[in-house]
Subunit: 221 residues, 2 copies
């Protein structure tokens, strides 16, 4: 996939295409037209053609897209299929939910370790992986090539742990802690800020309630 320059906007949309194409594959659909995909995804057919033309020649006029080919190619662009060794720091409910999350495997993320500071969790086995205490971290990391860490710990500990990870060669962090990590630029951080998602929901509920409680809609400034 080297040398192809695809805009960030298209890249952001690729996971959704990948999800729809995967669903089609599961349902045994071999070919799909941009119009049909457009109806399912609620995106204009012209947007779909524009996006997918970036990869060159997937679609054939009158035949539609080859679902499996497109799925595979987008998967390659997204770096799926290659294996990435991962650890989870924080083996509470969220950490355990991620550890049991089957999609991980399918996307090539291989869970190698789980860490916590709670002695009650020590040696618990989750999906074949044993929970270690943080004081075993340095020893562990020196014997395992770990590329990614998911951080499912309270924000108070997150920055310190993230720095420890970066110092020990983990260069990608999937961050669920409610804080920004401020790491060196060469560390990749993907944030999942659930509280911000809740706030967007809350904001939209406010707008909804406002609209539905107004007798008529003519009071904006």
């Amino acid at each position: 996939m080297q040398g192809r320059e695809i805009s960030q906007a298209v890249i952001r949309r690729l996971p959704r295409y990948y999800r729809y194409l995967g669903d089609l594959l599961e349902n045994g659909v071999e070919r799909i037209s941009s119009n049909d995909l457009s109806k399912r995804m609620k995106v204009t057919a012209s947007q779909i053609r524009q996006d997918l033309n970036n990869f060159g020649g997937f679609g054939q006029q009158g035949y539609g897209y080859n679902v499996k080919y497109l799925y595979t190619e987008i998967g390659k662009i997204l770096g799926l299929g290659e294996n990435h060794n991962m650890i989870i720091i924080g083996a509470g409910n969220l950490g355990q939910a991620l550890a049991k999350y089957a999609t991980f495997d399918r996307l090539g993320f291989v869970l190698k370790g789980l860490f916590d500071v709670n002695p009650e969790l020590k040696d618990t086995v989750i999906r074949g992986v044993r929970v270690r205490m943080m004081d075993e971290f340095k020893e562990f990391i020196s014997h395992n090539e770990i590329e990614i860490a998911a951080l499912t710990i309270p924000k108070e500990m997150a920055v310190e742990v993230a720095n420890l990870l970066a110092e020990n060669g983990v260069h990608a962090i999937w961050n669920f802690a409610h804080t920004d990590l401020n790491l060196p630029e060469n560390i990749i951080v993907e944030n999942v800020h659930l509280s911000e998602s809740l706030m967007r929901l809350s904001y939209n509920i406010g707008r909804y309630n406002e609209k539905h409680s107004r007798t008529d809609g003519s009071q904006s400034v």
Copy 2:
């Protein structure tokens, strides 16, 4: 908050301001200049002034922003502080993690019920709330005013359950299932697609590895 028209771009940024202001409050900071906030948030001071000026007169030249006032006002705009009754459908690890998620309460989301189809979970009590089976759902919903449902169930069941929710007056869904729900337009849906987040991470790791394995960078098409 009626009658104020704030752009969607600003709205999207508000949760992050709210988070930083909350941290400042916790640390006893009463006033902050746009420059200081700019350094912490890694956003330009002029962007901050522009965003916060939307709400009119929070900042005073030379005195900085009143942290508590700004935090409260942004909270109001985001609809926080009002209580919203919520249920969680799917009491597996992710559902339990959300149920135990303390930020919920602080943001005004009140957990009223947990539902599942797994009989082993029946009557388990999580954070004071008992897990009910889905066949109790209609009875429950007719006696409780529920505004929001978090969906932490497999995608295969998600669309059906979402329709059931919509039919029974739940008008906001926090969707963790890996599918789009295609509900009527008056239903608010906030998606958390973890697999798409993982794919973005994977894509960025690919770019990282490409950059670090190239001997020199001159082979684009």
